[in-house]
């Protein structure tokens, strides 16, 4: 009997240690497996393994491109002499029209339509010429397409080069002619270096939207021209080195991406499900269950966008503009308009624009998002007692297509008509523009005139918000948002998303109070009982 007693003790200890070891090794193994390939990564690598993109043509050998170009239009004609459909294709795209799809006949979405923002507010139907510097036409006008801005791998200042060439080419001075020859060589080099758009091509507009580097997007600025892997795992030059078009699948010059109310991709399919699906969604290459099998994060993908965890912060290298207060514009110092530099060497005050705030390493704000964005137009009536969402993500928890998605929210103050209760679109550039006249009345009158809308003459400024979905600057897997940044009682990243129970964030106060009361009562109870035994019955204890 005694022997078996000892044996069972040993066995019990053994069993318990096995049990503990099992738990410990299992959790340790979980950590180790993460460094290995997860299904979503394997799939994406497979989808993009052919890294060398090749071309069947060398544009420097094309006869059409061996000529002395005098103007942009001549260059475009040369391009279209081979690419016969490119022009008509491109003119139908949003890159050219600056008009998005619209359900309303009287409200047209787009920069060239009625849409507004809280930066330079509106292009005033092309009347604000400074906006057109990003229009892909020659000389910043809407005239003839400039193919080079997107397709030339040798960017030069074409307008200046062509003007200079024209100035020198007809001269009698041999020195001028020599100069003209040199300029033309530069032009030709640029014209003959043709390829698919690179990050630099796309970035020449998209990194500088709003009038400067990183003004608009928090996840797109000049740092993405040559990013490292730490800044963007996909585009990192020391990694996959993706160009924009790798994900922004293009059909007949229509480049995939969200367009106002139209989601970038209406369905979330992977290339396995549909090999011609645009590669614009993470799911396209990574599938909707990209993490290790059985991993809890896979359970999140139905409600949380990949970007929410994989982009812990935007503007990680260059700062981005977070605040633009037009109401402060027009101040003078010593009777003169002025500029003042603040943090990061960026202007925090400009007389002609107002007050700015710049931030770096910004934590996104999170909203339900189904891929559409509601953008306010110049025709929409506003309630100036509220903060006006000039653009806001569409989606809710009940929407199966919606995910919790990270956004840059650009805040600011912009003018509105106190009588008509609509946002005002001042004309900024040109002789009647605010930047020349510092005269709001004239700028508003001219701006609203371009829309054939009335301006009452009474204006004030109202606080507004504008959102940018954050989808670039995907960080390496070691730099993801930790579970506890959302699953936490206070000040979590998802603190403002209400209407659902989230473990770690939510609790029932009454139950917690009752529960802890019971626990404390139990403890007090046994302590008192124990003390009672010690004091009343010490003799028995010593037995």
């Amino acid at each position: 009997m005694k022997r078996s007693k000892g044996m069972s003790q040993v066995k019990l200890c053994f069993l318990m240690s096995v049990c503990l070891l099992f738990i410990l090794t299992w959790t340790a193994e979980g950590k180790q497996a993460e460094t290995d390939q997860v299904p979503g990564r394997t799939m994406a690598r497979q989808a993009t393994k052919a890294k060398a993109l090749w071309s069947t043509t060398d544009h420097s050998k094309h006869e059409a491109l061996q000529q002395a170009f005098k103007s942009g239009e001549e260059i475009t004609r040369a391009c279209l002499s081979c690419h016969s459909e490119a022009g008509s294709q491109f003119r139908k795209t949003i890159h050219w029209t600056w008009l998005g799809d619209s359900d309303h006949s009287d409200k047209k979405f787009g920069k060239a339509g009625h849409s507004l923002n809280n930066f330079c507010i509106s292009t005033n139907k092309w009347q604000d010429k400074s906006c057109s510097s990003c229009h892909p036409g020659w000389n910043a006008t809407v005239g003839e397409i400039n193919c080079l801005v997107c397709h030339s791998q040798k960017e030069i200042n074409w307008t200046e080069a062509l003007e200079d060439f024209q100035a020198f080419v007809d001269s009698d001075d041999p020195e001028d002619l020599e100069l003209a020859k040199e300029i033309q060589e530069g032009i030709l080099e640029s014209v003959q270096s043709i390829g698919r758009p690179t990050r630099k091509n796309c970035g020449s507009c998209h990194f500088y939207g709003g009038g400067g580097d990183g003004v608009k997007h928090g996840d797109l600025d000049s740092s993405v021209t040559k990013p490292n892997k730490a800044l963007d795992v996909h585009m990192g030059v020391d990694g996959q080195n993706f160009q924009c078009t790798r994900c922004h699948t293009t059909k007949a010059h229509n480049i995939a991406g969200r367009i106002y109310s139209k989601p970038a991709s209406p369905d979330r399919r992977s290339l396995i499900e549909d090999d011609l699906t645009p590669k614009i969604m993470c799911e396209s290459c990574h599938s909707s269950k990209p993490h290790k099998f059985g991993s809890k994060v896979n359970d999140h993908t139905d409600k949380v966008a990949c970007q929410s965890c994989h982009i812990p912060a935007f503007a990680r290298v260059n700062p981005t503009k977070m605040w633009w207060d037009w109401s402060k514009a027009g101040n003078t110092k010593d009777g003169k308009h002025y500029k003042r530099k603040g943090a990061f060497g960026k202007y925090d005050y400009l007389s002609y624009k107002g007050e700015m705030k710049w931030e770096k390493n910004v934590k996104p704000e999170y909203f339900w998002f189904n891929g559409s964005i509601n953008t306010l137009t110049v025709k929409d009536i506003i309630d100036p007692s509220q903060i006006i969402p000039v653009s806001a993500p569409v989606g809710s928890r009940a929407d199966d297509n919606a995910r919790i998605f990270p956004f840059k929210v650009h805040r600011g103050k912009q003018p509105y008509d106190k009588v008509h209760k609509i946002l005002l679109t001042p004309l900024l550039s040109g002789k009647d523009g605010y930047w020349t006249t510092y005269d709001w009345q004239r700028a508003f009158a001219k701006g609203m005139e371009s829309f054939s809308l009335p301006f009452s003459g009474e204006f004030d400024f109202v606080e507004t918000t504008y959102v940018f979905p954050t989808t670039h600057m995907v960080a390496p897997k070691d730099n993801v948002v930790a579970c506890s940044e959302c699953h936490i009682k206070k000040e979590g990243r998802l603190a403002n998303l209400a209407g659902f129970y989230m473990p770690g964030r939510n609790s029932f106060k009454l139950l917690d109070m009752a529960g802890w009361t019971v626990i404390i009562a139990s403890l007090l109870g046994v302590i008192l009982h124990g003390l009672g035994r010690i004091f009343t019955n010490g003799k028995r204890k010593g037995e």
Binding site: I23, I488, W516, G525, N537, E543
Partner: protein
Amino acid sequence: MAVQKMNNIYLYTRYERFWHWLQMVFIFILLITGLEIHGVYALFGFERAVEIHNFTGISWLIAFAFFVFWVFTTGEWKQYIPTTRKMLEVIRYYSYGIFKGESHPVPKRKDAKHNPLQRLTYLSLAAFLLPIQMVTGFLYWGYNSWTDWGFGGLPLGLVALVHMAGAFAIFSFIIVHVYMTTTGHTIFAHIKAMITGWEDVEEGVEIEEWERAH
């Protein structure tokens, strides 16, 4: 108080002891990680806490199936049949007699391991509280499959509420249970019995027919 002669009897079988301590490990881990997930403190980190909690919970669920098998095939379930007989005496003992050094009104026997209070408590645990924790825990774990399982309309908050209430109840039980182990004839007598299987019980007290499990 008369000194009673003690008899050393084999009270808990090997599997029973193993189950008890395995369950202790499970509950201990689940309570520690569960409270962390609830946001009471940070210890393992939320992610790791969830991993451990889920793994332990599922393990317990599997192990519990073996316990159910054991308790029915061995007839040990009869030890858990609730009774009110001598219930008042037991309550009186713990609230009064124990301070006077009286003997336990229902001493342990091989075929009557639990006093009426224990029977009720352990039955509530094994047949009610633990299954509730297991069901709500399993539901919690399978949250993403609720629509497939036909519980699409069930709010997660409700499951979380019941699971948390159960956790508080178990926590409270642990406190009292651990304390009660010290109420044997020596402080560690009961714990020793649960480790070795052998317990010293007072000699001479007859067990009545109703107390017998076999």
